[in-house]
C-alpha cells in the first residue's frame, strides 16, 4: 500500500481542524462530526452490552447456576439483547459510516437536514442512556421482545422505562431514515444517476426505507405497552378479550424488517471492500441493486416465521414459510456475485478484505441455517433453542459486526487521515473470525440437541460445548478490544494516509483525508459507472 508522496501532504484545512471545545462537537451539524458522535456512543453501548454477554457466558461455563441468580440472568440477557439490537446494531453502520459517507459518496456537501441529523443523535443518546440507567432501577427481564402479557401484567421490572427509552430511540431511526432518503433522492451530484450509485449507498437507501416504514409500527406497539403499564389501558389484556398474539404480530412486523436493517448495510460495506481489494468491477451491478431492494421488500412479508409455534393459523404459517424461503434468493444472488467479483481479480489481503471474507463465510452459514429454520416442521423442533441463537448471531455478529469492523478499517484513513497497524489489524480480524466460530458454532449443536435458550442452568451433558462457547467468547473479546487499542493509537501516531491509500474508486476517495468541512472544494461531476477498476478489462457490468 505505498502511496505517492505528494498525496501524503496533510491538508491544511479539514473538518477536524479547529473547534475542539465540547460545544463544537455536541452542537455540530457537520455530518462527518455527527458520524464521530455516533461512533463514540455506539462503541460505549457495545461494550456495555458486551459485558452483559460476558456474564452470560461465564454463568454458562458450569451446568449449575452459581454466578448469577435466575433473575439476574434474565436481566442480563434482556439488557444484552436490548442494547445490542437497538443501541448498537441498528445504528451501527447506517449512523456512523452512513452518516460519514453518504454525502461524500454522492458528491454532496452535507445531508439534506443537518440539524435534524444532530437532533437524531441527541435523541438516540438520551434514549439509550435512559435505558441503561434502568438497570440501576431494577432492570428488565422480558428479553428484548417485551412479549405480552408477561411484560404488561406480570413482571415487576422497569418495563415502562425501558419501553419508553426504546420508543425514543425509534424516533432517531425514523429521522435518520428520512434524512438519508431525501438526501439520496435530491442531492446527488451532476451525473450521479441511480445506476451509478455505489452499492453502499443503495444498501443505505434500502435500510432507510425499512427504518421509516417499520419503526413507526414498533413505536405504536411500545406505546401500547407503556399505556397499559402506566394508565391500565389494556389493549392486549386476555381478560378483556385482548390478544397477546396480536402483540407478537405488531412487534415482528417491525422487528423482522429490522433484522434486515441489521444486515443490508453490512452487505453494502462488503460490496465496497470486495471490489476495491479484488481490483474488479462488481459482478452484476444491476442484479445487486435489485437484490438489495428485493431483500428490503421481502423483509416485510416474513414476520410470521417467528410465530410458527405461537398459535397463528397454519395457513398463515405456510405463507410466511414460503416467503422466508424466498428471501434466500436475493441473498444468494449477492453472495454469488461477490464470489464472482473475485474471479480473475488481483486480490489484496488487507485487513478490510479479511473482514469481508469472514463476512461472506459467516453470512452464508447464517443464511443457510435461516432456511432450515424457515421450514415449519424443523422449526417446531429447534424453536427457542440455541440453534436459533447461533443462527441469528451468525447474521448479526458474523455478518453485521464483521462488516462494520471491515468498513471502519477501510474508511478509517478517510475519517482520520491516518493509517493503522497492518499487522495488528490482521491479527484482530483473525481473532474475530476464530473467536466467533468457536463461540457460536457449538451453539448450533447445543440447540439441535435440545438445549433451550434463556436458561441459566443446563444438564451436565451439555457442558463441553458450553465451555467451548465461553472460551470462544474470550477470543472474540480480544478481536473487539484490539482495534480499540491500535485504532486509538493511530489517531495520534499513525502515518498520514493521503487522499486514496487503497487506490479505491468512489467520490469519497477523490477528496483529501481528512476531508474539508464541506467535503469537496468543488462539487464533482460524475462521468463513469461505479467500481471502474481497470485491472481486468475496460468493460464494466451494469
Amino acid at each position: 500500500m505505498s502511496t505517492p508522496s505528494l498525496e501524503q501532504r496533510w491538508p491544511r484545512d479539514h473538518y477536524l481542524s479547529g473547534g475542539f471545545r465540547l460545544r463544537d462537537w455536541l452542537l455540530t451539524t457537520d455530518h462527518k462530526r455527527i458520524g464521530w458522535l455516533y461512533f463514540a456512543s455506539i462503541t460505549f453501548f457495545f461494550f456495555i452490552g458486551g459485558i452483559a454477554a460476558l456474564l452470560i457466558r461465564l454463568e454458562l461455563i458450569t451446568p449449575g447456576g452459581d454466578l448469577l441468580s435466575p433473575d439476574t440472568y434474565n436481566q442480563m440477557f434482556s439488557m444484552h439483547g436490548i442494547i445490542m439490537v437497538w443501541f448498537f446494531l441498528i445504528p451501527s453502520i447506517p449512523n456512523t459510516l452512513g452518516n460519514f459517507l453518504i454525502p461524500m459518496m454522492i458528491g454532496a456537501r452535507d445531508l439534506a437536514f443537518p440539524k435534524l441529523n444532530l437532533l437524531s443523535w441527541h435523541v438516540y443518546t438520551i434514549g439509550a442512556l435512559f435505558v441503561v440507567l434502568t438497570v440501576l432501577l431494577g432492570a428488565v427481564d422480558t428479553g428484548w421482545t417485551f412479549y405480552t402479557p408477561y411484560s404488561t401484567l406480570f413482571t415487576e421490572t422497569a418495563v415502562l422505562a425501558a419501553a419508553t427509552g426504546v420508543f425514543v430511540v425509534g424516533f432517531s431511526s425514523i429521522l435518520t431514515g428520512i434524512n438519508f432518503m431525501v438526501t439520496l433522492h435530491k442531492m446527488r451530484a451532476p451525473g450521479m444517476s441511480w445506476m451509478r450509485l455505489p452499492l453502499f449507498a443503495w444498501a443505505t437507501y434500502a435500510t432507510s426505507l425499512i427504518m421509516i416504514l417499520a419503526t413507526p409500527v414498533l413505536s405504536i406497539t411500545l406505546l401500547l405497552i407503556a399505556v397499559e403499564r402506566l394508565f391500565g389501558i389494556g389493549i392486549f389484556d386476555p381478560a378483556l378479550g385482548g390478544d397477546p398474539i396480536l402483540f407478537q404480530h405488531l412487534f415482528w412486523f417491525y422487528s423482522h424488517p429490522a433484522v434486515y436493517i441489521m444486515i443490508l448495510p453490512g452487505m453494502g460495506v462488503v460490496s465496497e471492500l470486495i471490489t476495491c481489494f479484488a481490483r474488479n468491477s462488481v459482478f452484476g451491478y444491476k442484479s445487486m441493486v435489485i437484490s438489495i431492494m428485493a431483500i428490503a421488500l421481502f423483509g416485510f412479508l416474513v414476520w410470521g416465521h417467528h410465530m410458527f409455534v405461537a398459535g397463528q393459523s397454519m395457513y398463515a404459517g405456510v405463507m410466511f414459510s414460503l416467503f422466508s424461503f424466498l428471501v434466500a434468493l436475493p441473498s444468494a444472488i449477492k453472495t454469488f456475485n461477490w464470489t464472482a467479483t473475485l474471479y480473475r481479480g488481483r486480490i489484496l489481503l488487507t485487513a478490510p478484505m479479511l473482514y469481508a471474507f469472514s463476512f461472506i463465510g459467516l453470512f452464508t452459514i447464517g443464511g443457510l441455517t435461516g432456511i432450515i429454520l424457515a421450514a415449519m416442521a424443523i422449526d417446531v423442533h429447534v424453536h427457542d433453542t440455541y440453534f436459533v441463537v447461533a443462527h441469528f448471531h451468525y447474521i448479526m455478529v458474523g455478518g453485521m459486526v464483521t462488516a462494520y469492523l471491515g468498513g471502519v478499517h477501510f474508511w478509517w484513513p478517510k475519517m482520520t487521515g491516518r493509517m493503522f497497524s497492518e499487522l495488528w489489524s490482521k491479527v484482530a480480524a483473525l481473532a474475530l473470525f476464530i473467536g466467533f466460530n468457536l463461540t457460536f458454532f457449538p451453539q448450533f449443536i447445543l440447540g439441535y440437541l435440545g438445549m433451550p435458550r434463556r436458561y441459566h442452568e443446563y444438564p451436565a451433558d451439555f457442558q463441553l460445548l458450553n465451555v467451548m462457547s465461553s472460551l470462544g467468547a474470550g477470543a472474540l473479546a480480544i478481536g473487539y478490544l484490539l482495534p480499540l487499542v491500535y485504532l486509538t493509537w493511530s489517531l495520534f501516531r499513525g502515518k498520514p494516509a493521503g487522499a486514496n491509500p487503497w487506490g479505491a474508486t468512489g467520490l469519497e476517495w477523490q477528496t483529501s483525508s481528512p476531508p474539508p468541512k464541506h467535503n469537496f472544494v468543488q462539487i464533482p461531476r460524475v462521468s463513469e459507472p461505479p467500481y471502474a477498476y481497470r485491472n481486468q478489462d475496460q468493460e464494466t457490468t451494469g
Binding site: D110, P114, I178, M181, K186, M187, I212, P216, G234, L240
Partner: protein, 224 residues
C-alpha cells in the same frame, strides 16, 4: 401588524439557500419530500393502531358495535365538520401566502387555530361526559357498562381513548406549529419563506384531518 403597505413581492427564489443545497428549488423539493416521508411514518404509526382495532372489531364484532353506540355521534360528527372546515381555511392560507397577502394569511391562520382549539374543547367535553358515565377504564377508574359484554366494551373504550388521545396530541402539536407560523406571518419579513412554511405545515394539518376521518369512521360510525 400586517399592513397593506408591506412589500408584496411575488413568490420567487429569494433569501439565502441553506449551505448544503445548490439552489432554492432543490431545498424546497427536499423539504417537501422530507415532510411527505414523515407523514408516511405517522400514517404507519396510526396504521398499527388501526390494524389492531380492525382485528378486534372482526373478532368481537357484536360487542364492539354495541359499545360504539355509547359514543356521542352528534359531537363526533360536529367535530368532523369542524376539522374539515379548518382544512379548508388552511388550504386558503396556503393560497393567500403564495399570493403574498399578509393580512389574509394571518387571519386565516388564526381561524384555523381557533377551529382546531374548538375541536379540542369539544373533545375534552366528550371525554368528561364519558368519565361521568363511568365509561373511562383508565387508571383504575370504575367502569360500569350497561350492555351485554362489558369486557369487550372495556377493550373498545381502551382503543377509543388511545386513538382519540393520540390524535388530540397530534392536534396540539399542530396547533403549536401553526401558532409559531402565525407570529411569523404577523411580522411578514420573508414572504417566500412564509409561503414554504405554510405549505409544509399545511401538509401536516391535512394529515391530522385525514387521520381524524379514519378514527371517526372506525369508532363512531361502525355501530349497530
Amino acid at each position: 401588524m400586517p399592513t397593506a403597505t408591506k412589500t408584496r413581492k411575488p413568490l420567487g427564489d429569494q433569501g439565502p439557500v441553506a449551505e448544503q443545497f445548490e439552489t432554492m428549488g432543490q431545498q424546497r423539493d427536499a423539504n417537501r419530500l422530507g415532510m411527505w416521508m414523515f407523514l408516511g411514518t405517522e400514517l404507519l404509526l396510526f396504521g398499527g393502531l388501526f390494524g389492531a382495532f380492525v382485528t378486534y372489531r372482526v373478532i368481537h364484532a357484536e360487542g364492539f358495535a354495541e359499545a360504539a353506540g355509547h359514543l356521542d355521534l352528534t359531537l363526533g360528527a360536529l367535530n368532523t365538520a369542524l376539522l374539515l372546515t379548518s382544512g379548508l381555511t388552511m388550504a386558503l392560507t396556503e393560497q393567500m401566502s403564495r399570493a403574498a397577502r399578509p393580512k389574509a394569511t394571518f387571519w386565516l391562520l388564526v381561524a384555523t387555530i381557533a377551529i382546531g382549539a374548538l375541536f379540542i374543547v369539544i373533545k375534552g367535553h366528550e371525554w368528561y361526559k364519558e368519565y361521568q358515565e363511568q365509561l373511562m377504564p383508565v387508571l383504575g377508574l370504575p367502569f360500569s357498562y350497561p350492555g351485554e359484554q362489558p369486557e369487550q366494551a372495556e377493550l373498545f373504550f381502551n382503543f377509543y381513548f388511545v386513538m382519540t388521545g393520540l390524535h388530540a396530541l397530534h392536534m396540539l402539536v399542530g396547533l403549536g406549529v401553526l401558532g409559531v407560523i402565525a407570529t411569523v406571518a404577523w411580522r411578514w419579513r420573508n414572504p417566500p419563506r412564509i409561503a414554504r412554511q405554510v405549505q409544509i405545515s399545511g401538509l401536516y394539518w391535512a394529515f391530522v384531518d385525514v387521520i381524524w376521518v379514519i378514527v371517526f369512521s372506525l369508532l363512531y360510525l361502525s355501530r349497530v
